[in-house]
């Protein structure tokens, strides 16, 4: 075990994967000499050299297009997109190409690329360094979408992503890159996809949160506990595949559900979870499903503290769910 921050855990996972397999390469903007703008790839260039830690020209479609080609010819590329907000020049390569290669070729040309990208708000990044647009990728068949919220999961899910056979969008909550630290198992620690993490057990209301929304959700649960409300907190960890069984089972127990994410509400992952509960846990529900999310506005700069969910807004929604019905 080592005590690491979340970004250190990402770094550790990358280094261990590269040591274990010479076909694993890292590419992206500023990932080499500079070690990444968040230092997620620090030290890799020195250890593995420029043929495996590739500083690319400033072109996201170039990064993902070449990563796909590398994967077809025997490498396992881990591409970094510096901020999720800048991924759109590569959107065609991701949704039209990467996501569909296996399917469109009848299984002849699977393309396994891991795309790492810091995402989310709370760092005073304004419109273009803050967004949470995971839903775009969840909506495209053929992509797995992973979001860790702890250092142990960051390393464990990243190693699973690198050893997986499918394309993985690996989103790193940059707001808690350094503010969260914890014990991370040494060696080949892997966390399976499609298995939610039970963060906190409770019988009165289920709170679903991922990424940087997990800490304020736990804080909300602790505040609720002081009022005698036992909230269960579940972190799905992977949005695709989603641990639907764990989500449904929790609500069958509590009868009340609050979904938390910083992404905008309309057509967000919260809507999918709410639909899932309406389809599969309808008769267990004792109160309307609540969503605590970012607003349906562009991501603001000066008012970001009012845009993002926090422990107070989450606890407020949970109390309303518990007292309703």
């Amino acid at each position: 075990m080592s005590e690491l921050t979340l970004v250190q855990a990402v770094n550790r996972g990358l280094a261990e994967a590269m040591r274990a397999d010479p076909n694993v390469v890292v590419l992206g903007e500023d990932v080499g000499v500079n070690g990444g703008v968040f230092r997620a790839t620090e030290g890799l260039f020195k250890e593995f050299g420029e043929s495996r830690v590739i500083d690319t020209p400033l072109s996201e479609t170039g990064i993902i297009g070449t990563a796909i080609g590398m994967s077809l010819n025997g490498l396992t590329p881990v591409a970094e997109i510096q901020f999720l907000d800048f991924i759109y020049p590569a959107f065609d390569q991701i949704v039209s190409e990467l996501a569909k290669f296996r399917y469109r070729s009848g299984g002849q040309f699977p393309s396994h690329v891991v795309i790492r990208s810091p995402y989310g708000g709370g760092i005073k990044g304004g419109l273009y360094h803050s967004q949470s647009t995971e839903a775009y990728f969840c909506h495209t068949a053929g992509l797995k979408v992973v979001i860790p919220s702890t250092p142990a999961d960051a390393k464990g899910l990243l190693l699973t992503a690198i050893h997986d056979e499918d394309p993985v969008i690996f989103l790193e909550p940059k707001r808690i890159y350094r503010s969260v630290s914890g014990e991370v198992p040494d060696g080949d620690h892997r966390v399976p996809f499609g298995k939610a993490r039970l963060v906190r057990e409770g019988a009165d209301v289920s709170l679903f949160a991922y990424g940087a929304m997990v800490p304020p959700t736990v804080e909300a649960a602790e505040a609720l506990a002081k009022d005698g409300i036992q909230a269960e907190v579940i972190d799905p960890r992977t949005l695709v595949p989603l641990d639907e069984a764990a989500i449904v089972a929790s609500v069958e127990k509590t009868g009340r559900a609050v979904v938390v994410h910083e992404a905008a509400r309309f057509c967000g992952v919260g809507g999918e979870i709410a639909a899932l509960l309406a389809e599969k846990a309808f008769y267990s529900l004792k109160a309307p499903i609540a969503r605590v999310t970012g607003y349906d506005t562009p991501f603001p700069y000066a008012l970001e503290h009012l845009y993002l969910p926090n422990a107070e807004t989450i606890a407020h929604a949970a109390r309303a769910a518990v007292t309703a019905g």
Binding site: V25, S51, R52, I54, T56, P57, S59, T61, G62, I64, G65, T66, A67, I68, G69, M70, S71, L72, N73, G74, L75, P77, P89, D92, Q93, S96, E97, K100, F101, R102, Y103, R104, S105, G106, G107, Q108, F109, P110, A141, G142, K144, D164, E165, D166, G194, V240, P241, L242, E244, A245
Partner: protein, 336 residues
């Protein structure tokens, strides 16, 4: 040369038959390569079996020269159960792992950066091969052309960019695609050579590709080849070129038909006579007829294959959707 002529005849015969099949409603769509045969055959003959092909959706003759059986191509056009791509795409979007012929997609230019990435992997793996993205004049305006050319220049990849400038991107003429005098000259900005070649001249294309390939394998980096050809047919069976170009223009290029040209050369060199020529075309027609007949008699795709190959294995959600599909009686052998 005679071998090349046979490939061109087979390609032309397949094109003509497929245009008819589409009009008869027997295949859903077709994009012919009429007029581009010498460019494709000349290029493919200059490559080795270990080189990677990243085609657009018009590279049928390239596939034939690679050794892909005609039957496998027609299976894809029909979309039957023996189609290696499992009926997942429109006709022309075939791919063959065994022949390093990557499955095409419809977005324009996306294969260009991918070919460069495969070349970067070849560098890392120390393979003495080249990767060849095929694209048209329209693709030179795409994001991925710029990104791919730039990455190839920066990383000096073993890539032969093969542009078939067929003068028309659906309805947009070449001169409205770019102000550049040639497409090949764009390579200069990326720091490597670009060459223009007469794409109706089989030998010229072969030489240009062979030279570019040799340079790349020597570690001297990429080359852009602009093969100047003409799309004698429509963009696809969904297109009516009479809306945007004149018959006179087509006639002018028809007079430069690469197949007529090569035939004249072969006759002059006494490598071919009219009787032997007739035999080549008769054989091609018989080969195409047999492939179409076999493909049309193959079983249709199994309905539940719909849920395969999204991922390496089906997720619980896909299992659930598949079960729901079967419960509705839609999973039977004929579908519902």
């Amino acid at each position: 040369m005679l071998g090349a002529y046979r490939w061109m005849a087979l390609s032309r015969t397949t094109d003509e038959r497929c245009l008819t099949l589409q009009r008869q409603g027997r295949i859903g769509f077709y994009a012919p390569l009429l007029g581009q045969e010498a460019a494709q055959v000349g290029c493919a003959l200059a490559l080795t079996a270990e080189d990677w092909i990243f085609p657009a959706y018009r590279e049928l003759a390239v596939a034939l020269v690679r050794g892909v059986p005609l039957r496998a191509i027609v299976d894809q056009l029909v979309g039957n159960s023996t189609d290696l791509t499992k009926g997942r795409q429109m006709p022309n979007h075939f791919g063959f792992r065994e022949f390093k012929f990557v499955t095409a997609s419809s977005p324009i230019g996306t294969q260009i950066t991918q070919a460069v990435g495969a070349a970067m992997a070849a560098q890392r793996r120390k393979e003495a091969i080249v990767t060849v993205p095929f694209f048209g004049d329209g693709a030179t305006s795409s994001n991925d052309f710029h990104a791919g050319m730039n990455f190839a220049g920066v990383f000096r990849t073993p890539t032969v960019f093969f542009c078939q400038n067929n003068q028309w991107a659906i309805s947009l003429p070449r001169e409205k695609q770019t102000r550049s005098k040639t497409l090949a000259e764009k390579a200069e900005a990326y720091g490597f050579p670009g060459v223009v070649v007469d794409g109706t001249d089989l030998r010229a294309v072969y030489r240009a590709v062979a030279e570019a390939r040799a340079r790349a394998v020597r570690g001297e980096g990429p080359t852009l080849i602009e093969a100047q050809v003409y799309r004698l047919g429509p963009h696809s069976t969904s297109d009516d070129p009479k809306r945007y170009r004149t018959d006179a223009e087509v006639a002018e290029w028809k007079a430069r038909d690469p197949i007529t040209r090569l035939k004249a050369e072969l006759l002059a060199a006494k490598q071919l006579d009219e009787a032997a020529d007739q035999k080549i075309w008769d054989e091609a027609r018989a080969q195409v007829a047999a492939a179409v007949d076999a493909a049309e008699h193959a079983a249709p795709m199994a309905p539940t294959s719909l849920f395969d190959d999204v991922f390496a294995s089906r997720t619980p959600r896909l299992e659930e959707e598949r079960a729901e599909f079967e419960a509705l009686g839609r999973g039977g052998s004929t579908g519902a």
